[in-house]
């Protein structure tokens, strides 16, 4: 049984002009201990997905259809109190900007102790010990002294480590990391990604990694989900999706990433831009920009087909299979 099972989830935004569908019938799952990457460009809906899972959807957004199951039970319709308990204890979260994720008025030690005591049954002294352990585990040098430091006294990389410590404090089964390294320098990025990977392996936590950076996915994720305009277009093992992309969008995406070893004169580009929420085309959302577009793509939204080790939502892929 999958640890996290998202089934046919749709998220809509009510505004006076009507309803906007930000997530349209998406399904994904994460097994215990695996790292799932959710990749997509801005506006694709990946952050919204993680927000929906952890129950932090901001009004006027709401779950309009589908279910989210965690460890076999439904969590999308839990009352606020129960969701609060779930959050932190079983699902931890790391967000993009470590500066705003930490309260500037309290020392990092205080924040850690507060989180630990909220979820684990420890007295203050034991909680303190555990807090220092966590700081050491996340690679903060001089953890015992840094315990008393305030967020503004730490660098960006250090702060993100503290946020990670907060996320794993109660040994959650699932860690949601939303663009955890985007705001950091490239050398720090590498350190943090390595840390996440190690922690995940050591504690057996699954990780849902949301990012726009394929490189990060390649480094850390076991499987990857590619999103476009609120829909999932391709899912598969990381190596497969990166080396053998099948959906035209994924192919275009992989080709437009400049590579260190690349000698191309011109980067292959996908013309046009991702549609905004209110103007998603009928049928397949990608069809206006697709090089393999067929007549059917304009009318019907593609179903998901298996192709090799991946699942792809594309009529062209089905056609190829039929031909083969």
């Amino acid at each position: 049984m999958a640890l996290l099972d998202v089934r046919n989830l749709s998220v809509e935004f009510k505004n006076r002009r009507g309803n906007l569908k930000a997530l349209d019938d998406i399904s994904l799952s994460i097994e215990a201990g695996e790292v799932l990457g959710i990749v997509g460009e801005s506006g694709a809906g990946k952050s919204l997905t993680s927000a929906a899972v952890i129950g932090l959807l901001q009004a006027p957004g709401y779950v309009s259809a589908g279910q989210i199951l965690f460890d076999g039970r439904r969590i999308d319709n839990l009352p606020a109190e129960e969701m609060n308990r779930l959050r932190g204890r079983e699902i931890g979260a790391i967000f993009q900007d470590p500066l705003t994720a930490l309260d500037p008025l309290y020392s990092i030690g205080q924040q850690l102790v507060e989180t630990i005591q909220a979820h684990l049954d420890l007295n203050v002294d034991d909680a303190r010990v555990r807090a220092v352990e966590l700081l050491q585990e996340t690679g903060i040098p001089g953890a015992a002294e840094r315990f008393y430091a305030y967020p503004h006294q730490l660098s960006g990389g250090m702060r993100q480590r503290v946020v990670i410590a907060l996320a794993i404090a109660a040994n959650p089964k699932l860690i949601i990391a939303d663009e955890p390294t985007t705001a950091l320098d490239v050398s720090i990025q590498a350190q943090i990604m390595l840390l996440l990977k190690q922690l995940g392996a050591r504690h057996g936590s699954a990780v849902m990694l949301v990012t726009h950076d394929m490189g990060v996915i390649a480094e850390v994720a076991d499987r990857v989900v590619v999103m476009y305009a609120g829909r999932i277009v391709e899912t598969g093992p990381t190596r497969e999706v990166i080396h053998h992309p099948r959906h035209p969008y994924t192919i275009g995406l992989m080709n437009s990433i400049p590579k260190l070893s690349g000698t191309a004169e011109r980067l292959q580009q996908i013309d046009g831009a991702m549609p905004r929420l209110g103007s998603i085309p009928s049928g397949c959302a990608f069809h206006p920009r697709c090089r393999q577009v067929h007549e059917r793509c304009l009318r019907e939204r593609p179903e998901t087909f298996t192709a090799g080790l991946s699942k792809v939502a594309c009529w062209s892929v089905k056609e190829e299979q039929v031909a083969a």
């Binding site: 490239v186 050398s187 590498a190 990433i257 590579k259 070893s261 690349g262 011109r266 013309d271």
Partner: protein, 346 residues
């Protein structure tokens, strides 16, 4: 590759550039506490040159001073020391009336597409501003024609001219910024992380556009970036900066295939491996320290795997090692033997 004597023939020549910012506490506080003046050396003795029609990429992480260098080159900051010559003229001349012609030849593209266009101006006015400022066009008709040409060059339509910036996406705004930069027919463009805020597929469009423009108009680029993969695509030559100092400078191939400075090597190691070759990577050590107290020796020494005693005492000068200029006491072509040679007395 250039030599120190060769500066005159290059489109852009910068030597000994330095910019210090006064970060002292307020005067009254200093008086009462007896605290010393504090100076932050954002740019600390940087030299480079760019050949006409080529791209020099300035690479480094946050705090290395590359954005400050960009601003110094377009005249937004005044250099504390050093000389900047663009097309043979000192950059200081742009402040004078006589220097207006040079101003037209230098333009800049900024990182944040959401802040680089005035939210209250229509696109037409934004693009026309440089032309009007330098009186390059006369009359409504000519302005319309010229602006329409520019907007077409960057791949947008004339219908977009009457709209406001908030009606466009990040990539489109960056195109508009480029159109504005091209309005005075410049020869030298300083690009400060022009694609860092854009999605990968949009980035590809913008980079292709910039490359096409360079080819068609013979533009010279100074391209600032922290993304080495992007740099490998656009640059002809690369200069690596660390905490205000330049640490390595070479043509693109040398930098990527045979990096000599430990920091460059670390940066390259840190780039995620899309090939997924499964190669084991070493995580970089430590973090960039705050630069209010410049060290006497090499700035990178606290994080360097190969550092020896000399590195903490003596600041390394840029010296030539084969095809590269590198500021490191230990760098040698046979890098792996470096520590051995150092202990033997280099």
């Amino acid at each position: 590759m250039k030599t120190e004597m060769d500066m005159g023939s290059r489109a852009v020549a910068v030597s000994g550039l330095a910019k210090y910012f006064d970060t002292s506490r307020p005067w009254l506080n200093r008086l009462l506490e007896g605290a010393p003046k504090q100076v932050m050396r954002a740019v600390d003795d940087v030299s480079f040159s760019i050949e006409r029609g080529k791209t020099l990429a300035l690479v480094g992480e946050s705090g290395c001073g590359k954005s400050t260098v960009a601003r110094l080159l377009v005249g937004l900051h005044q250099a504390t020391h050093g000389e900047i010559r663009v097309f043979g003229q000192d950059i200081g001349v742009v402040k004078t009336k006589a220097g207006k012609a040079l101003r037209q030849k230098i333009q800049m593209i900024f990182q944040d597409p959401y802040a680089s266009l005035n939210p209250r101006w229509r696109i037409k006015r934004i693009i026309a501003e440089p032309m009007l400022e330098h009186q390059l066009v006369q009359g409504e008709a000519e302005i319309e024609k010229r602006v329409a040409e520019l907007i077409a060059t960057v791949g947008l339509s004339t219908a977009d001219l009457n709209k406001y910036p908030h009606q466009f996406s990040g990539g489109q705004r960056q195109r508009i910024s480029i159109a504005r930069a091209l309005a005075t027919q410049p020869d030298f463009l300083v690009c400060d992380e022009p694609t860092s805020a854009l999605d990968v597929s949009v980035q590809a469009q913008i980079l292709n556009l910039m490359k096409d423009l360079q080819k068609n108009h013979g533009l010279t680029y100074l391209f600032i970036s922290h993304n080495l993969a992007v740099v490998s695509y656009v640059a002809d030559e690369v200069a690596v900066m660390y905490m205000g100092r330049s640490v390595e400078m070479a043509d693109k191939d040398s930098i990527f295939c045979a990096p000599l400075h430990p920091y460059t090597q670390m940066l390259l190691e840190a780039v995620p491996d899309l090939e997924m070759s499964g190669k084991a990577r070493q995580a970089p050590l430590g973090e960039v320290s705050s630069s209010s107290n410049p060290s006497r020796g090499c700035a990178f020494q606290p994080r360097c795997r190969h550092a020896v005693a000399r590195c903490a005492e003596e600041r390394p000068e840029m010296r030539r090692v084969e095809h590269t200029l590198v500021a490191c006491h230990l760098a040698k072509p046979q890098w792996l033997n470096a520590r051995q040679s150092a202990s033997e007395g280099s």
